[in-house]
Subunit: 275 residues, 2 copies
């Protein structure tokens, strides 16, 4: 497998950064991740736009223009020639002279194998546990997953699959996905603030709005317990239904979720037919 | 200059980690940093103890026992043969198969040149600005300096030298140092909770306690404004007096600080004579 590091295509098993890099020294960097289905990158423009936005918010400059980066991505995909894969763009704080000041960012583009989400049916529902934590600079896709990884044994201990963060009882997001509920009168609600706005989240809201009322607003952990359905969204998973949050078991009918899943799959199908 | 990476001594300009490392991918790692004065590592045992503590808290295993690590450190210092330097121990989440699960940690030991703090006089006083932020897992020396580095332009914009974090008006620490005040009746006060307990901080408290009342307790940003003196402590700086916090200019006599500085310098002088 080939990767791309600072202007060069290199075999992934040799792709490296020197130890002076600010991701290694200080955990400073941003990234983005998109999927390739049937050789076509899905929602590529949206991911590239967000990557540049994250970089700018973190005061990191991408050494390439967006069209140049697109070209590099397509060349990397050509070289690797895989039908289905994940692609990760990473930009770090660079080789800092004093281990603290920002320098010229290091850019990495690498492939990560992943199992595409199922095309025609919902994946198995998951259990979430809530945990009080607010991500730093939540609107930016930074590499900071300290708490998420640190919490993994606790997730397992509770027999759960993932975490739902909240702050003072206001739900925000899962470490790698956005959170939604469907109310008893078929309203779709998702947190508006202190979150990373996922590409699938945004696409889903746009697509759902013609069928259901959608509200982006404050959502308390109390209100969640009254939900008829709940689900998370992400690039790797599309939509995963939630069957339990802490002690609260949801009804589990998931009629609305099943419809939304079809909407998202159709959108992606359109993408792969378009290019 | 030589560095040590996962069992091998390598020239620093070639010392690297593969891009699958969890520090690069997810900002997951811990470190410690100590100084070498006159060829002698200062408070080495304390730093090694804290490094193992940080590793354990982050569920990372150091592949060596403490005596083995000491031996490696001394061999690295011998090879580099520098009278005065900083030494950084870094332990990351390792090469994760899926970019999320912890793996065998990567261990890096590297030297960083630094200017030793002055021996006989206080360094120039600094200005702090307060900023509301609570570090994640504050008792652990993680590599997470996202906010600290991100805030640098704001520090400069206010003509300040560093940040003092607080949460809901309760002062905690600076990004790389601990914070103290001296009250009008010569009491020394430093935050007790939600901080990283610095080695110099702890040594200073132990040394000062025979001369002054010392309190480790909650310290509000309001109380700070009534301080007669204020200072920060760290391995690289020992003690730096503070002349201003936000808009509040302190009296600046710094008599107690000057005494404390002598105490800390003597402690380190004893270390370098001991070995």
């Amino acid at each position: 497998m080939w990767a791309f590091v600072n202007g060069e295509f290199v075999p992934e098993e040799k792709a490296s950064l020197l130890i002076g890099d600010l991701a290694i020294q200080r955990g400073y960097g941003v990234f983005d991740f998109f999927k390739v289905l049937d050789f076509v990158p899905v929602f590529l423009n949206e991911h590239i736009d967000r990557f540049y936005f994250s970089a700018e918010e973190m005061r990191l400059k991408v050494a390439y223009s967006k069209p140049e980066l697109r070209k590099i991505i397509f060349e990397l995909l050509d070289r690797n020639n895989v039908r289905e894969t994940g692609v990760r763009l990473t930009l770090t704080g660079g080789y800092s002279p004093d281990g603290y000041q920002l320098s010229n960012p290091n850019l990495i583009i690498s492939l990560r194998s992943f199992t595409p989400p199922p095309k025609n049916e919902l994946a198995k529902a998951i259990k979430l546990i809530t945990y009080e934590h607010q991500r730093q600079l939540p609107h930016v896709k930074t590499i900071d997953y300290l708490m998420a990884i640190w919490l993994q044994p606790i997730v397992r201990q509770f027999g759960a699959d993932d975490i739902l963060y909240h702050q003072n009882g206001i739900a925000t997001e899962c470490p790698r996905s956005n959170f939604f509920i469907v109310t008893s009168n078929n309203k779709i609600i998702t947190p508006a603030k202190n979150i990373l706005k996922g590409i699938i989240r945004n696409k889903l809201i746009d697509a759902a709005i013609s069928k259901y009322p959608v509200e982006e607003r404050e959502l308390s952990t109390e209100e969640i317990k009254t939900a008829k359905e709940a689900f998370i969204t992400s690039t790797t998973k599309n939509i995963l239904p939630v069957y339990q949050i802490d002690e609260c078991i949801l009804p589990g009918e998931n009629k609305v979720i099943t419809q939304l899943y079809q909407l998202i799959v159709q959108l992606q199908f359109k993408q792969t037919q378009k290019v």
